[in-house]
């Protein structure tokens, strides 16, 4: 698991498949090899009033870590990450009288996955309760585990195929974690950040870039 940077690609009056197609062509021209599909999904549960103040649990799955379930608990003041295994979903069902899922907010990002050198590129079209919301580009540089060391390198790579639309600053989530060892849950937190933005935005056309 290496450092992963997630960025949003502006839609600009195109459909999701069109953008994915465009980016796929660009990355393939650089010599990337398609390596299957990927899927990241997120379901959100919020606490019942009887449990005191409002808390939210986001449960995310990433096809890159198929046996792991990620849960992020938002208390309002902080976010607590938890990595656990597949049966956690079963436990969430048991907890249904304390934490109820908000059906309208099921978000997922899915699409093709490419490998090029030591990089892994994923182009995901994001849907929130099956409405298309936008496109997320994920770039992972597998050999390196400290974001600060390889940020410039990844940025250069992303600008290579996203052009001027590539990111110029690290994602806000990573900004104060640049010297830490990167772990899969950090990717998940980036996804959650973007999903939250997408949920708030009314439609695909009006998305602001998160920076």
């Amino acid at each position: 698991m290496g450092v992963t940077i997630l960025t949003q690609f502006p839609v600009e009056n195109k459909t999701g498949p069109q953008i994915i197609e465009l980016l796929s062509k660009r990355i393939s021209a650089l010599g990337a090899v398609p390596q299957g599909q990927f899927l990241v999904d997120c379901e959100t549960y919020s606490s019942v009033p009887a449990l005191g103040h409002q808390r939210t649990v986001h449960v995310l799955h990433n096809s890159e870590q198929p046996a792991t379930v990620f849960a992020l608990l938002e208390t309002g003041t902080k976010t607590i990450p938890l990595a656990t295994d597949g049966l956690f979903d079963l436990l969430m069902m048991k907890m249904s009288s304390f934490y109820q899922s908000k059906k309208q907010t099921k978000a997922e990002s899915k699409g093709p996955r490419f490998e090029i050198g030591d990089f892994c590129v994923k182009l995901g079209s994001v849907t929130v309760s099956s409405n298309f919301k936008g496109v997320l580009v994920e770039v992972e540089y597998k050999p390196c585990v400290v974001p600060a060391m390889c940020w410039d390198l990844i940025m250069e790579f992303m600008q290579g195929f996203l052009g001027s639309l590539g990111p110029t600053t690290p994602p806000s989530f990573l900004q104060n974690r640049m010297q830490d060892i990167y772990s899969p849950i950090d990717t998940i937190q980036q996804y959650l950040e973007h999903f939250t933005l997408f949920r708030k935005s009314p439609g695909p056309a009006l998305i602001m870039r998160p920076q």
């Binding site: 030591d118 050999p143 400290v146 390198l153 290579g160």
Partner: protein, 295 residues
Amino acid sequence: MERDIEQLNSALNSVKILRSNVRCVFESVSNGLRADHGEESKESKYILELQELLTIVNNNLRDVENSVGNLTPPPGAFSLGNTTYLSQETTQERQQLYGQLVNSYKWTDKIREYSALAGNMLAANSFNKTYKTYSTTKRRKTQTSNHNVPPEIIENLITSIDRLFTDVTITAKRPFVPNPLIQVALGRVLRAVIAFKGLMIEWVVVKALSEDNDLWTESRYKVFRKVTENCHAAMCHFHSPMMPELAVRSFMHWFHSYITLFSAPCKRCSKHLQSNLPPTWRDLRSLEPYHEECK
């Protein structure tokens, strides 16, 4: 002695021939009449064949008798030393010992033979390295063999290297005492497994921190495979039989420059990536980063 063995060999050989021909006779007898004897007068043909075979056997038998007659009987019993008592051993496990003893004897014998051969070869083609020419008697005293050194010296070298760089952590393992195997973790960038042969660097493999520290499998990442390659080149470059410690030190100095593997751009093209790899080459003198294509 030499002749005795020759004769013994020829006797054994003739016994072997006799056995093989006797086998032929039995084979023919057990098969009886065959199709290739034809239709007419097959019995007489068969008898003729049998007679021929028997004559051969007879001749062979004579040979055996002759060669046995030539053998000189051994003077008295063989002295096997203490091994004779092994045959009288009653415990099951120790009865195996005799076989093992014979095997190890054979091995040592072979080693002696091969080393004698190798010694001859080396004597014939001596190394005429330059340093030998001006090696005076004084010099010879200080000159150390660099593959057969006491472990303490290597130990000292490794600890001194460990102290040299703060961001390098070295863990040493000694599967074979004089030839340590060390793992060098370079910050949080990479890890190298280095095998020593005495004071010489014998093998280097570079991997990600998360990969296993096996010496023989290469990294799954392209960048580390490239770095491994370059390390091999540098290892040869820095090698100096005269000053082995210095060689190791300068190699480690050079290797330490990889701490910026991901963060430093190429000195020539000032870019990070070239064919999706960071600058994997470090100049041997200036330690500056270059892409493979830019150096």
